[in-house]
Homo-oligomer: 323 residues x 2
């Protein structure tokens, strides 16, 4: 577990996570100057150990330069521990680009996958919808979109237990010729992919429902929304923005009401399990939004859930049926 955010934010989240998950062992990659202080504050019954790191990757750092120049940062160290199987999952609130770069260069990818992508889940009318990519890859080729569709479907089968997930390609209209060239190509390739499966007359790995528009994301008819990391990030964050405004206005109008507290919680990014760096043979979770103790705790709990659900093994097992 690591982060490049203020150590105080970690303190609180790590202690709460240790309380919530008593069987959990945590390594905290933490700046040298805070490391000793923090270690002293950890109650002896908790399995939490601090590992002092000497460098820090900043949000404005260029991803590839940062991981090359700062091998002693929490981010690079955490990925190294994961690579060496010293930890089962790595949770970070650091520079997304650097996290993806470090993971891509060090962690094995799932079979036939070229790039990991950030997968996040959001509440929809029936269960959760997965958005992939939600911020990993700014531009994508048709091939990437097809792989994201497969990864999203695998995740949805493994975690949300959806038998044959409905996968849609996020676009500005439902017609196959909408959007830019790579999206149109991805539409055709996904159609062919599913058609090939149909001819095999065995269970389909996913059901490609064609293009979906922004308004369709939350309607419950689509389980996996495939997009590039630029669009996915804008979708995710603008939805956070508008839902936070709606609940603020409601609170001003109606005062505090436990009746809508539960609904607000559904849409609160700090309650989400964070983004999964999907496509890797290890669990890497990117903490959601502006990191707070609550969102960091949700990220840790998300990682614990993915471990308990045996996510990677399930995805690999499904994958062997896919190809």
């Amino acid at each position: 577990m690591g982060s490049d955010s203020s150590p105080e934010i970690l303190f609180d989240a790590v202690l709460k996570a240790a309380e919530l998950h008593p069987a959990l062992s945590m390594l905290v990659f933490i700046p040298q100057e805070s490391s000793e202080d923090f270690q002293k504050k950890i109650p002896s019954h908790m399995h939490v150990k601090c590992i002092a790191v000497q460098q820090e990757i900043l949000m404005e750092d260029h991803p590839l330069e940062a991981i090359r120049r700062k091998p002693l940062s929490s981010l690079v160290q955490g990925i190294q521990y994961l690579k060496d199987k010293k930890i089962d999952a790595f949770v970070s609130a650091g520079n997304t680009g650097a996290l993806i770069a470090a993971a891509t260069l060090n962690i094995p990818l799932l079979p036939n996958i070229k790039r990991p992508a950030l997968l996040i889940t959001m509440p929809a009318e029936k269960g959760n919808v997965s958005i992939i990519d939600a911020g990993g890859n700014i531009t994508c080729t048709a091939e990437h979109y097809v792989q994201f569709a497969q990864l999203g479907a695998l995740f949805q089968k493994s975690i949300e237990k959806t038998t044959c997930p409905n996968v849609g390609l996020l676009n500005v209209g439902i017609e196959p010729l909408k959007g830019h060239h790579e999206l149109r190509k991805a539409y055709q390739e996904l159609q062919q992919y599913v058609e090939t499966w149909r001819l095999k007359k065995i269970d389909l790995p996913l059901n490609f429902i064609g293009n979906v528009e922004g308004k369709d994301v939350f309607c419950g008819n689509v389980d996996v929304v495939v997009t590039d990391g630029f669009t996915g990030n804008i979708l995710l964050k603008s939805c956070e923005g508008i839902s936070s405004l709606i609940f603020k206005l409601l609170r001003n109008q109606l005062g505090n009401s436990e009746h809508f507290d539960a609904i607000e919680k559904l849409f609160d990014h700090a309650e989400s399990p964070g983004g999964l760096l999907c496509g890797l043979e290890r669990i890497v979770v990117k903490c959601h939004g502006n990191v707070t103790p609550r969102s960091m705790l949700s990220g840790i709990s998300g990682a614990v859930h993915f471990i308990q659900q045996n996510l990677i093994e399930r995805m690999k097992a499904h994958f062997s049926l896919f190809s």
Copy 2:
């Protein structure tokens, strides 16, 4: 006024608009087969006249092909009437691409503007925020982004009466190097543009606040959000989707409550004045979302408001100060 949607939807909206705005004269471009029937149903005190059209542009039609092959459609006819100044504004719920193509080819553009862009307004923490482009141009160059920034600022000054609008570039992070090449270039060019103005030591036409993320769109610190039509369309429609889900869940939980009816209305796309095709020397309004009598009525009312506010003349006057 024209639309390629079912004439029944027009019937209701046009009659309501005529009631709401008694001084308004409307021409309805309507399929020949419905034209006579409709004309008979219009009360004699209303200034509404039907114009029969012989062709129909479909949603799946290729924009440029459609306007060339279907010169007798409501869309092409409406733009022609607008070009000839037989009408002051044209409202359509038809094929967006075809509408933009027909407008670009026929209606003069504002000074130094190369392409019109769809501008929509959404509620934010303080007043309304304008999103431009919300669906016109799938890909944009740095030059387009800069022009959209100017158009958005002009609109915001003219309609929302914002003195020096805060303009942000929609991106996946606030750092100047985030996003793709054209966005990074647009960031620099907008900075230079504002700097040039600062040196003149007169009132700035706009205040470039740098990159904004999706979560910042509704926070009230930004008046104009500049983006390409692909991203803008996804932002707009996914926000519609999530707000409609939130209010559905609230209604299930709390029952009908007039306390949140007013807030729901704020976020209901059918209540919005529709998208303005911004950058033209005439008023073209694209009706919002799935066209319903209510959203068509909002579109007509939006056009009336823009005429009453003398939008085009105001924008032109501001423009002469801008360049």
